[in-house]
């Protein structure tokens, strides 16, 4: 199993390098940072000088190699826009995104699995059909529209919830949290619903179809034939088996939450890394973009790895195979 993990980590590392190269090669198409950094009255000489200072005159593989060399030492460079170390900026912004992702991920997981199980057990019930059909509306609405709609209804028309930002945050060490104040919690509601809704419907539909599949299995019939309670059959026997295939997708979906946060954070001006990234694109803040993409890939690769390891925890069949792998 250790060999397996080592192999996966190594593969992940290669993936990271490739992703980084692709992402980095893209930067030069985003635009030119120089114009944003120099004022209206800049001269061509200023432009050339700054270009050289930033190393932008070099071919991008060279830039990438330099970036990697620095990144390996934890140095992601200095933001063109803010003139501050990228690592600092990202660590300031990360709590906002992680808290948002945590809440919406939990929401998506709990509600998604709950409703998925419900609709699978009550397969032909009226409530299930209503839930299934409404869930499709959730999948059919682009995230940005949902966000706009929620703001319009709950902030502007009803005035119940804040329309943007994190509200009041509390600083605990290097972590700024919105969980400890009323306004921080209120500010979390709309963005996390917006962000979580799509994943929720996805998880729900997946859990439902997997669970229906499992409920057709012989061991479920056998469990029923042994006179076990429905609750035990559904949750002890069926749900656990449902989780095996669900975990991969759910893992990836939770990762996707962080990426999709870009759109939600833009709509709600949520001061997380997603908004930072969008701003960085607009400003062609290459160090921030590069660091963000690397961070996201590290996270995805990490999630993938965790998902693989979770398989071992859940499915005893793999533990045997894993030992030999």
């Amino acid at each position: 199993m250790i060999a397996y993990v080592i192999r996966r980590v190594f593969q992940s590392f290669v993936v990271l390098l490739v992703v980084g190269l692709v992402a980095f090669s893209m930067f030069r198409f985003v635009g030119d940072p120089i114009d944003n950094m120099l004022g209206q009255e800049r001269t061509q000489a200023d432009v050339e000088r700054l270009r050289t200072t930033l190393g932008l005159d070099q071919p991008f593989p060279v830039q990438y190699a330099k970036f990697l060399a620095n990144a390996a030492q934890g140095n992601f460079g200095v933001s063109y826009r803010q003139g501050r170390p990228v690592a600092t900026i990202i660590s300031e912004r990360a709590p906002a995104t992680l808290e948002l992702a945590l809440v919406s991920g939990t929401l998506a997981l709990v509600v998604g699995i709950g409703l998925g199980v419900f609709t699978a057990i009550r397969r032909n019930g009226v409530a299930s059909n209503v839930i299934m059909t409404t869930s499709l509306i959730g999948v059919s609405l682009p995230t940005f529209l949902i966000g706009i709609l929620l703001i319009y209804v709950f902030s502007v028309s009803l005035g119940w919830l804040p329309s943007f930002g994190r509200g009041e945050t509390t600083q605990i060490g290097g972590w700024s949290t919105g969980f400890l104040t009323a306004s921080g919690l209120k500010a979390l509601i709309l963005p996390s619903i917006t962000l979580g809704l799509y994943q929720m419907t996805l998880i729900m539909r997946l859990v439902r179809s997997e669970m229906l599949e499992v409920l057709r299995q012989d061991y479920i019939r056998f469990a029923r034939a042994r006179g076990l309670r429905e609750r035990s059959v559904n949750f002890r026997h069926a749900l656990k088996n449902t989780m095996v295939p669900v975990i991969t997708v759910v893992g990836l979906q939770l990762g996707a939450i962080i990426a999709f946060a870009i759109i939600t954070e833009t709509v709600f001006q949520w001061p997380g890394v997603g908004l930072l990234f969008i701003n960085a694109i607009q400003f062609v803040d290459i160090p921030v973009m590069a660091a963000y993409l690397m961070l996201i890939s590290v996270m995805f690769v990490g999630i993938n790895l965790i998902v693989d390891l979770l398989y071992f925890a859940i499915d005893p069949r793999l533990r045997i195979d894993g030992r030999h792998a």
Partner: protein
């Protein structure tokens, strides 16, 4: 049995199948198919139905801008069924034409993803070995990034590589490729899975033994067996592609404003949400919702009706 003349026709057989029966007895399937068909037809025949051609700038009168639905314009006195946008374009016409682009991009992207995914999936499953490892690794890597981000990257890179003078005309093609490339993994995975199963079945082994070429085997024996999951994925992907196109266009990296898709229309309309011109956002959004919902419902129903095991 002896009377071959009374052998039911193919069509009759099809209409009598369980599938057709399930279809006829499911109101959801009927309605969603009807809505999808209606919207697709409306998009195809947009030039015949639409009162105005929104792509012809010469036909526009700016003074018609912001005319509310079915109300005469205060300057020109003209009236439009669903009102006009900021440029004085008839919203009804722009929706018809916008849907054309959205659907074209959607269908083309799914077709692209399908061809790519099925081919790679078949090859990976059938050939195995290193080929398989490489293909599925690429798929894994791509899966680690959400499709919308992949599409954004591809659009960005493509924009950079396209010579400036072709950029606008290429925008739609780039969009198709970007969405298609971000979506092929699903197909590849399912096809590969089924291929692995089918490959070892006796009839395929038999076909191999009698010396059929791998290509023929894949095409004639394996492919038909994976068609129903592929059909379901394709339907669901169509809805996803339409939404992805809308999202990309909403973010401003999709269809150009001179050829607005539904997403572009929503992006434009969003700016008028608080100013009272609700119709500029509302009608395209409802159309997008109706389209995506109908296709999704259809896909969902197909999944239940054909019941392929989808992972």
């Amino acid at each position: 049995m002896s009377d071959a003349a009374h052998e039911p026709s193919r069509l009759a057989k099809m209409l009598d199948s369980d599938f057709a029966y399930k279809f006829r007895t499911s109101p959801v399937a009927m309605v969603s198919t009807a809505v999808t068909l209606l919207l697709v037809l409306a998009a195809i025949f947009a030039p015949l139905i639409a009162p105005l051609d929104p792509f012809n700038p010469a036909s526009l009168n700016l003074m018609n801008g912001f005319t509310p639905p079915s109300t005469p314009n205060q300057f020109t006195g003209e009236s439009f069924l669903l009102g006009t946008d900021d440029q004085g374009r008839d919203v009804y016409s722009t929706i018809l034409y916008g849907m054309r682009i959205s659907l074209f991009v959607g269908f083309a992207a799914v077709a692209f993803a399908m061809v790519l995914g099925i081919s790679l999936g078949l090859i990976a499953g059938y050939v195995g070995g290193w080929t398989e490892t490489i293909i599925m690794r690429i798929a894994d890597v791509q899966l680690t990034f959400p499709s919308i981000l992949v599409a954004m990257l591809i659009t960005g890179v493509a924009k950079g590589f396209t010579p400036v003078e072709y950029r606008d005309s290429m925008a739609i093609i780039v969009l198709i490729v970007a969405i298609g490339l971000s979506d092929w993994v699903q197909f590849a995975r399912v096809v590969r899975g089924s291929t692995l199963v089918e490959k070892n079945k006796e009839y395929v082994q038999a076909a191999r033994l009698i010396g059929r070429s791998p290509f023929t085997i894949m095409l004639k024996h394996i492919l038909p067996n994976v068609l129903s999951p592929v059909l379901v994925i394709a339907t669901i992907s169509l809805a996803l592609a339409i939404i992805a196109e809308a999202t990309l266009s909403f973010l401003g990296v999709g269809a150009p404003p001179t050829q607005p898709s539904l997403g572009t229309l929503i992006r434009i309309g969003q700016g008028y949400l608080y100013s009272g011109e609700w119709w500029i956002l509302f009608f395209p959004a409802v159309t997008l919702l109706a389209l995506a919902l109908a296709v999704n419902l259809l896909g969902d129903w197909l999944r239940d009706a054909l019941n392929p095991k989808l992972r």
